[in-house]
Symmetry: C2
Subunit: 172 residues, 2 copies
């Protein structure tokens, strides 16, 4: 089964992001707006108990995260993905690294660029038009996120939450 780890920003930010995703993101109906912490990985139901145990330990020891957004950006020319760029912080980078060790050991495909996708699979022309107008927007947002989620993928490509992990239990 395919699993992934992500955090959901506040409802306010999800609503804003969805107002763009509705038009520009082919994955709009498959998963709520999110920041991916670990891209899709294979695991068996038998491995799941160990994985969730380690995720609980990681979450307990990781403080809540500040998500700061200042601009819209794009992964072009690698691919035509438009996203809200989340300012990289040591906390985000550390959590990302912990989610790639132990039972979760894997080599990330790309360097970790924290982001929330707002458009993808756009034609070159559309990508350039949309990016141009979105870059004009005043985009300043900051919030604290105190949880992440382990999700699994259904056959239709959509994602269901398996479990939520609250951050910072051991940080008080």
């Amino acid at each position: 089964m395919n699993y992934g780890i992500a955090l959901f920003p506040s409802k306010k930010l999800q609503d804003l992001v969805n107002s763009y995703r509705k038009r520009y993101d082919t994955n709009y109906a498959l998963v709520p707006p999110h920041l991916t912490l670990k891209t899709a990985f294979e695991a068996t139901v038998e491995n799941l108990e160990q994985i969730t145990k380690e995720l609980r330990q990681i979450a307990d020891k990781s403080a809540p995260l500040t998500i700061s957004i200042k601009k819209v950006s794009s992964f072009s020319p690698v691919n035509n993905v438009i996203y809200l760029k989340v300012e990289p912080t040591e906390e985000l980078q550390e959590l990302h690294e912990k989610l790639h060790t132990g039972s979760l050991e894997s080599q990330p495909e790309y360097a970790f660029v924290p982001h929330i996708t707002i458009g993808q699979n756009l034609s070159d022309d559309e990508h350039s038009d949309v990016l141009g107008s979105l870059k004009m927007l005043e985009m300043k947002h900051e919030e604290v996120v105190d949880r992440f989620h382990l999700l699994y993928q259904l056959e239709n490509g959509s994602w269901t939450v398996y479990e939520t992990f609250l951050l910072g239990k051991d940080c008080n």
Copy 2:
């Protein structure tokens, strides 16, 4: 904000249910296949801490649930909702009741009929056609569910998971 409480059945059952929902359920893209334990209710972010605290206590004291499905049924003539009927059990009924007391006090709109929706908002003719053919299917499925989820609704009508609650921590 609108909140709801639901459990997700196994991926296997969700995939089966989605194969019908894709054609017959107007809410297909808004939420994964689920069994509703508490329909949409209003809560403020300020109430949320108390609500999740009580949900944790309820979950700790409630044993994992056996979900047994034997047939397809419909809420017609009340409405044209077609669903997998989940056999009512004392455990399901008790959990449903606990989720309507304390901070979660509310009067359910209908008697609790545990079900997983596979079609809704169908015309009378389509409802009757689809129900007729689905009733012919051999439908025998049983599984154990060990968690439920608190979800909130976005402005586009879709649902995001806020937190997962594992059943039975105090039941060993």
